[in-house]
Symmetry: C2
Subunit: 364 residues, 2 copies
């Protein structure tokens, strides 16, 4: 399916107005839009505006409540627990990381966990918030179960991403990955494109290798069995138990810490039941920050300049691709799948935000 | 190469006396021995007494100083930095985790980083110390460079293991893995056994797939290029960048935080230059501990009872295999490779600890 380039400024305006149309405040709408567009600009299409349809459905079926007000239910000097009351993930997530940052600035460390939340976009957005304040940031979330434990056939854990960021020059180190081989969103993109997935990403309802993204996504939605493999694949020999265990670490740091619902009991698309966690650490607790930042910058540069494997021309450090993608897309526009464009039109119309008014007539 | 079973009690006595022979105090010797034997009992041969020869060589060549006294060089309420002064890794590591635990008990969180250290055995030993005190424990270390960054051909990062433990019933969750597909010790075992490695574990000096463990280990020692792949293998499609980035997170949390030497500059076998970090967190900062522990126990039980993939009969949770292995080996003895037995004899003789006095005559 072909892609159309849409100008970032117009997409931002459209999304802001769209979320305002659902009843979010101006500042809430801008937060949600910024998280989504950051994903698209970073080249992480799976977590960008192609998700609008899922948020739309969530708001329509009551699993996302636009008027929910999150609430701090437990707090210590270093920590807080927040009940999102089924609000929009991005809104509570931003507030939670702001609180963790505040605690880290005052006490050295801040840990804020959230329950009864919804999909919050890319985890890296929140880890980056801490790095922008010269702190180390870390952020996790659980999700609807989609990952197969090693030797299992049913999805028991979420894609359970990990993000981690630390400031460096010229750009921060930003790690943001699902603990599955791929995130669910990537399967959705393959489904939209109708292309077969690489072998080793997912298994069918019988726990056997499967390259049909649509079939796997369908099985996940209907809870028929099968799902995505943990990073490390399906065998211990290739490290499956490492990805499975990493998913468990995220599960503990989210649903268990937050007193929330574990991934295997989270309903379709999150359903106001996901848990998230936000950590900020003032690395000044270990000494001179400028020196540490310099040492990291040197290591990153050594990696970039390190010898390349035969046939390869570049070694990336984490966060580089994203910033290069952002620069390119700010100039040339955001590539949007035509199916997503159709969804934007439909969704926009439902809240009185006319697609053509922002983008002119686009023929599909 | 065949294995011999040696009784755990006698191996413990032998190792205690061996380390005393190098000049370690009684309590230091017991700590080092306990870490090593915990690995062997857990079935992690790569990190057990087969490493005695490397410690022996390190002490002989001056990279490990038995009489070194570690020193706290920086401290805040939540944190400390310790200079190990090239002492034995296990000794400073235990003290560092004890300090992190003390801080976590008093303030909720403790983070202790160590520089100028040496190989400290299995990371899980220290994470477990925190879990035994009803805390969440986490422990990392960097190592001599052995891991290939995605698209690279030279080793730039260590095996950089991650361990994480949280109490649960009937047994704790204990995650302890290298961020490479396999740890270096596993290559050493394959070298000793003379068996080819599975494809996808390592690359040769040209960055190409290689199944000859001896060749890869040799290249690593001579810094000829090549090394072990990050978990996720060699391509982005299988998640190589995820393992590479996870190794970077560990690198940041160890050498960068501790102001130590980054893995790509650590000398052969650690050489008194590795950095380690120890985190303890009182999860009571998020509410009722009994409830959280219960919820984790329920999830672990649900995983064990979850449907199995075709051809599989069991889903493990992390830490189960280790405790079952321990029970079996306490009863039947620790399986020791004959090459390791020969090394134990040689090493023992060098410090006046006669192997036969502990084990009788074993014919090789």
């Amino acid at each position: 399916m072909p892609y159309i380039r849409l100008p970032e400024v117009q997409v931002r305006r459209f999304c802001n107005d769209l979320f305002a149309g659902y009843g979010f405040s101006k500042s809430e709408s801008e937060t949600i839009t910024d998280v989504l567009l950051t994903a698209d600009l970073y080249g992480i299409e799976s977590h960008g505006i192609q998700r609008l349809i899922r948020y739309h459905d969530g708001i329509r079926d009551g699993s996302i409540l636009p008027f929910a007000k999150y609430e701090i239910t437990h707090e210590t000097r270093l920590s807080a627990v927040i009940d999102a009351h089924r609000g929009m993930g991005q809104v509570v997530a931003r507030a939670a990381m702001e609180l963790a940052i505040e605690k880290a600035k005052e006490h050295g460390f801040g840990a804020v966990v959230v329950n009864h939340s919804n999909h919050y976009g890319i985890a890296g957005y929140y880890a980056s918030m801490a790095a922008a304040e010269d702190l180390v940031g870390m952020c996790f979330t659980n999700t609807e179960a989609i990952a197969i434990p090693t030797f299992g056939r049913n999805a028991m854990l979420g894609t359970n991403p990990i993000s981690f960021s630390m400031p460096a020059d010229p750009i921060p180190f930003l790690y943001d990955v699902a603990t599955t081989v791929v995130p669910r969103g990537k399967l959705e993109v393959y489904t939209k494109n109708g292309k077969p997935m690489p072998l080793g990403w997912a298994v069918d309802a019988n726990g056997l290798d499967c390259t049909d993204a649509g079939e796997v996504v369908g099985n996940i939605i209907s809870k028929a069995g099968g799902g995505i493999l943990p990073v490390g694949g399906s065998s211990e020999e290739s490290g499956s138990h490492k990805g499975y265990g990493l998913g468990m670490v995220v599960e503990i740091a989210t649903s268990i810490f937050a007193g929330g619902v574990t991934s295997n009991h989270v309903g379709h698309s999150g359903n106001g039941e996901t848990s998230e966690s936000f950590f900020a650490l003032d690395y000044g607790m270990f000494g001179d920050k400028a020196e540490m930042k310099h040492n990291l910058s040197v290591l990153l540069q050594e990696l970039r300049h390190s010898a390349k494997a035969k046939g390869q021309s570049r070694i990336y450090t984490h966060g580089e691709k994203e910033l290069e993608s952002k620069a390119e897309k700010l100039q040339n526009g955001i590539p949007v799948n035509q199916k997503t464009v159709a969804e934007m039109k439909m969704i926009g119309n439902s809240v009185g935000v006319n697609f053509e008014r922002y983008f002119g007539a686009i023929w599909l």
